[in-house]
């Protein structure tokens, strides 16, 4: 069944069949058209340059500030990565505890529900004060809190997805609790966990970035967006926004690839 769906090419909206290249080209073409219209609008002066700088101006800034953008993306990216890894590990650990102990499950569930509704970035000023103005720790903590929630929720769910027939088989094999965990429960949960990590990757980048708006050391993408905007360098602010989008995309695509990979071969 799976091989059938894999080999059948998806059919296009007009009944044509589109291959992989065509599917990739379509959104690129749309993007080029949109940017072209944007450039035209900005060129005619219909839209003021400070409201919406032209794509050409933004590209100029990207070229000019390339080294600074790379280092800024490195700083923000590292904060997001540390947060993503720490938050994911914590989320997995907490989900494992919750799945093996009912009282812990009862204790953790409301805490996570509370965490999920708190705008975690709002903690940034508090954490900046706690860890000092020259520390990235607060931002990494924010990113890890943001990453924790989806990883915990998806892992906790995945740990409950073992099929009854698999559990009964393990009973018939007289398997120990640990053997059941290792051979059935964990492999069943792994794709769920990686879905959580994919969702968490975007949240980690956004949180690390936005946390920079609330003070702390400069040099990250968020800090440079806000300082560029504050000094009326709008094309440069937009250039950093582009870099932030690229960073978020990179996190998303890498975790998506990871998810696909583990789902195929657990």
């Amino acid at each position: 069944m799976a091989t059938l769906t894999r080999t059948r090419p998806p059919s296009g909206p007009l009944g044509r069949t589109a291959n992989g290249a065509e599917r990739a080209i379509a959104p690129v073409v749309l993007g080029i058209i949109v940017v072209g219209i944007w450039q035209l609008l900005a060129g005619t002066g219909l839209v003021e340059a400070y409201l919406l700088p032209s794509p050409a101006a933004i590209v100029d800034e990207i070229v000019e500030f390339w080294p600074s953008m790379v280092s800024a993306a490195g700083i923000t990216g590292l904060n997001a990565l540390v947060g993503l890894v720490a938050g994911s590990l914590l989320g997995i650990a907490a989900a494992l505890v919750a799945s093996t102990s009912r009282p812990f499950d009862g204790m953790l569930a409301p805490i996570v529900a509370a965490l999920a509704v708190i705008p975690i970035v709002a903690l940034a000023p508090v954490l900046n004060t706690m860890f000092g103005a020259d520390s990235q720790t607060g931002r990494q903590l924010i990113a890890s809190l943001a990453a924790f929630v989806p990883v915990f929720i998806t892992t906790a769910r995945g740990l409950r997805q073992t099929q009854p027939v698999h559990r009964e088989l393990m009973t018939s094999f007289a398997a120990t609790r640990w053997q059941v965990m290792r051979t059935i429960t964990l492999p069943t949960a792994v794709p769920y966990t990686f879905t959580g990590i994919r969702l968490a990757s975007s949240l980690a980048v956004i949180s690390a970035l936005v946390a920079e708006y609330f003070g702390g050391p400069r040099g990250g993408l968020g800090g440079l967006i806000s300082s560029s905007a504050a000094s009326s360098a709008y094309p440069r602010a937009w250039a950093y926004v582009v870099a932030a989008i690229a960073l978020g995309l990179a996190f998303y695509l890498i975790t998506l690839a990871l998810e696909r990979w583990v789902s195929r071969r657990r």
């Binding site: 018939s172 051979t183 492999p187």
Partner: protein, 268 residues
């Protein structure tokens, strides 16, 4: 040598939200070593429950279940039986070979021994070139053969099967029935086989245990006088004696169920 299975005076009562449900009442059954016994009956007659009691997946409310002279519980811990369900229940992330190896790995068998045993089992169920495939690359019938190989991994002398061919098409089903008889004869294992299908029960069994519902009980045990199970082949399906046995089982089923079951009750 003790019986493969000895069920004595077993009742099984489930506590459900709406009160107690009597799944089985006063069930007694012996299965000899190497014997093929089918359990047949309408839904709710407790045939699967009886199988699960033998497998120690449930415990009887009253009575005892013994497997090879020990309690069902001890027999499960000692891996004296192999089991297969209607769903093959293969682990999708493991290859065919790794699925068959699972019970061997769990009992700590050395890797080289596992590989040799898995090769034997793959040959036994006729899956020669498919050891490296994943379950989703196999047909339902092939998946079920993997499940049977896995059930046989630890050379049990008792095979418990809960409608293993229930989800397969008729052709595959008949083919696997003959395969199962060959495998059972080769391994010498006793088989307790739950099914809905009268021809399937007749074709496979030394004895067919006809059960009736509300409360679940054994209505009648019909011996199949069709020769040894190991020598049966597809031509039996067109033989007069085969149809006679089908009729006998069908009458036992309806005789027990329709007319408020006086006969079934008195038979015990």
């Amino acid at each position: 040598m003790s019986n493969a299975v000895t069920v004595t005076g077993v009742d099984k009562v489930f506590d459900s939200g709406a009160g107690q449900v009597v799944a089985l009442t006063e069930v007694a059954l012996d299965v000899a070593p190497g014997e093929f016994v089918s359990l047949i009956g309408p839904s709710g007659c407790g045939k699967s429950t009886l199988l699960r009691l033998i497998a120690d997946l449930e415990s009887p409310t009253n009575g005892t279940v013994e497997v090879f002279g020990t309690s069902a519980h001890q027999a499960r811990l000692d891996q004296r039986y192999g089991i297969a369900f209607q769903q093959a229940g293969l682990l999708p992330w493991r290859t065919v070979a790794a699925n068959i190896a699972l019970p061997l790995e769990l009992s700590g068998m050395p890797k080289s021994d596992v590989r040799a045993r898995v090769d034997e089992l793959i040959a036994l169920v006729g899956l020669g070139d498919f050891g490296d495939r994943f379950p989703d690359q196999l047909s339902g019938g092939m998946q079920q053969r993997v499940a049977i190989a896995r059930a046989l991994a630890k050379k049990p002398q008792l095979l418990l099967m809960d409608e293993p061919f229930g989800a397969l098409d008729e052709m595959t089903r008949e083919y696997l029935q003959t395969e199962l008889l060959r495998i059972a004869a080769e391994t010498g294992a006793a088989v307790v086989f739950v099914t809905h299908s009268i021809p399937e029960a007749v074709y496979l069994s030394d004895r067919v245990v006809v059960m009736s519902p509300r409360p679940g009980r054994i209505a009648e045990v019909v011996p199949m006088s069709l020769g040894s199970t190991g020598s049966r082949a597809d031509d039996l399906r067109e033989d007069g004696s085969f149809f006679e046995m089908i009729t006998a089982v069908r009458e036992a089923l309806h005789g027990g169920g329709v007319a408020a079951a006086p006969r079934g009750v008195e038979n015990r």
